[in-house]
Structures are given as structure tokens and as C-alpha cells.
């Protein structure tokens, strides 16, 4: 193990201890400590929300709502649990609510319908997106059903374990495995179709 790795590990342990101290103080009503929690976690929560929602304004809304819910429910947090896992669960629920609201507002073409489109009817922006695999992948993930989208974002993008994803989504690991498997098959089909 290199010296840099040791220093990094030491810093991470220090950060965790500091976060735990903030959590304990915030439970006691310390406003500065709660601000410290937000500072320590906001970027990770924002990244998760960004990967799920893909809209900057909605990410800000999700971030704010997540911290408001955190403030309301912090007294329920059990220190034996992983704090980020617990916080991600709140964030995913917030993103799910926002996504649901957005889906009600807009009419999305389901992935299956999009897959059935013929090459002649490809709009200009899709033709551009076809050249860009990242854009294609983004579009494909956004077109997945909500549960499959959350499962694939948490498992393949956030690289959490299946058990962690199941805990965050409140599902069984077997259910998550099925959702991920379906989502991957759809993404593969989509990418092959449009490449």
C-alpha cells in the first residue's frame, strides 16, 4: 500500500468521524452541525439526483427536498446503518416523486415503441444522437420504466451492490436482479438498433 493510499484512507476515516459527530450534534438541534452534514453530502446526493433526473433545475429541487426530509427524520437514523445508504434512500424517494410528477406532465414514448420505429422516421436530433453513444445511452436509460431505471442507475452507474440497491429501493434482491437484467437487455437492444 502506497503512502498516498494510506493518507487517503486516513482522510476518509476522519471525514466519517466528522460526519458522525455532525449527525449526533444535529440530532441535538445544532444548526451548524446540520449545515455540516449538508456540506459533506450535497455533492454525492446531487450526482445521484442528476443521474436519475437529468435536469439541473429538478436536481436543485431534489437536493432541497432531500435535505428537508433529512432534517425531519434525522432523529430516526440508527448509527449502525450506513449513513449514505440511508440518505440515498431518501434521495431516491424524492427523485421518484419528481420523476412521477414529470411523467404526468409530459408524454413519454415508451422504449418498446421507440424500438419499433422504422429508420425512415428518425428525427434529426436522433440522427445526431446515434453518433454519440453517450447520448444514446442517456436517452435509452431515460426511456426505461421508472423501477428499472432506478435499479440500473444505482447498480451500474453508482456501482452499488445488489443488496444495497434493494435496501435503497425497498425491494428484495431477487426483484432488483430481475429489474437490472430486463433493463440491460432493453439497453443492449436499443444500442444495437441505433448504432
Amino acid at each position: 500500500m502506497t503512502a498516498e493510499a494510506l493518507v487517503r484512507e486516513d482522510e476518509e476515516a476522519t471525514d466519517e468521524r466528522l460526519l458522525l459527530a455532525h449527525i449526533r450534534a444535529a440530532k441535538g438541534g445544532d444548526q451548524r452541525a446540520f449545515e455540516g452534514i449538508m456540506l459533506a453530502t450535497e455533492r454525492r446526493v446531487a450526482l445521484l439526483a442528476w443521474r436519475i433526473l437529468g435536469d439541473a433545475e429538478e436536481v436543485k429541487e431534489a437536493l432541497q427536498e432531500t435535505f428537508l426530509r433529512l432534517f425531519r427524520h434525522l432523529h430516526r437514523y440508527d448509527e449502525s446503518q450506513d449513513f449514505f445508504g440511508w440518505l440515498f434512500r431518501i434521495a431516491v424517494n424524492v427523485c421518484r416523486d419528481l420523476d412521477r410528477r414529470r411523467r404526468r406532465r409530459r408524454i413519454f414514448a415508451p422504449l418498446e415503441d421507440a424500438l419499433g420505429l422504422s429508420g425512415k422516421s428518425i428525427p434529426a436530433d436522433d440522427a445526431l444522437a446515434r453518433r454519440d453513444d453517450v447520448a444514446l445511452l442517456r436517452r435509452a436509460i431515460d426511456a426505461l420504466p421508472p423501477k428499472e431505471k432506478l435499479a440500473i442507475v444505482l447498480r451500474d452507474v453508482e456501482e452499488l451492490s445488489t443488496d444495497e440497491v434493494a435496501a435503497i429501493l425497498g425491494s428484495r434482491p431477487a426483484t432488483v436482479r430481475v429489474q437490472i437484467s430486463k433493463a440491460r437487455a432493453k439497453l443492449r437492444q436499443w444500442m444495437e438498433k441505433w448504432r
Binding site: L39, E42, L47, K60, F67, R72
Partner: protein, 141 residues
């Protein structure tokens, strides 16, 4: 896969604004009601519900009253003795049995023996006389 959306398009100012909004909009934790208060409230609710819930009326059981023959005769010895009550052997006390009976004369259906109870001034002594009604009718005629 990790960078399918690219970096988060938020600036430090955005994060600061979010923190400010959270601190400004957070609500104080709602006071938790004590167990005693919850129990008292639940009791009130249950009592109120029990009071306003309409109870189904219990149907009056249909009964066929047996005809009874009740005769009252003055006491044989003195006026201070309680009245003599005569009733058929298998009937209920007159006050209860006549409660739901149809008005009108009571006619014996079967010639059952007449039971006459005489209550003496001593509450521990009661004279019970059972007489065959049919025989006594023939004797009278």
C-alpha cells in the same frame, strides 16, 4: 456508464442557495404526543364512536302463551292474610306470563290439575293444594 450524463451542472452558488433554502424552510420537529395523551384521545374516540353508532333493535321473541287459569279467592281465615293465587302448574308467574299475552278471557286448553297456593302470615309456611279440575267441575254440577 458512470459518465452517461456528464458532471453535475451545479455551481457552488447553487449549492449555497440550496443550503440557505433548507435552513430557511425547515420546520421544527413536530412535538410527539405522549402515550398517555394518545390513550386518552383513543378512549374519547372509541366512546364517542360507541355512542353514535346505532344499535340494532333486538327482535321481541314470538311466544305462544299457554292459557292460564288464575283465580283469586279471599283468605279463608282472616283479612290480614295475603290473597290466594291459583294458577295452572306449568305456567310462569302471572305478572310475567301475562305481559305479552293478548287481551281477553283466559281459557284453559287442557284440563290440567289446579294448583292453589296459600301464603300464610308466616313467610316460611305455604300451603299448596293441587286439585283435579275435571273432577271438581263434575262434583259442582
Amino acid at each position: 456508464m458512470r459518465d452517461f450524463r456528464g458532471p453535475v451542472p451545479l455551481t457552488d452558488a447553487d449549492y449555497a442557495a440550496v443550503r440557505r433554502n433548507v435552513l430557511a424552510n425547515r420546520e421544527p420537529r413536530r412535538p410527539r404526543f405522549s402515550v398517555a395523551f394518545r390513550l386518552a384521545f383513543a378512549t374519547i374516540v372509541v366512546t364517542f364512536a360507541a355512542l353514535i353508532t346505532p344499535r340494532p333493535e333486538t327482535p321481541v321473541p314470538m311466544s305462544v302463551e299457554r292459557a292460564t287459569l288464575i283465580t283469586e279467592t279471599p283468605a279463608p281465615t282472616t283479612n290480614h292474610q295475603p290473597p290466594i293465587t291459583t294458577a295452572s302448574q306449568n305456567t310462569q308467574p302471572p305478572a310475567r306470563s301475562t305481559q305479552h299475552a293478548a287481551p281477553g278471557p283466559l281459557i284453559p286448553l287442557t284440563p290440567s290439575p289446579v294448583r292453589i297456593e296459600i301464603q300464610t302470615s308466616d313467610p316460611d309456611i305455604r300451603i299448596i293444594w293441587i286439585a283435579n279440575q275435571h273432577v271438581s267441575t263434575e262434583e259442582n254440577s
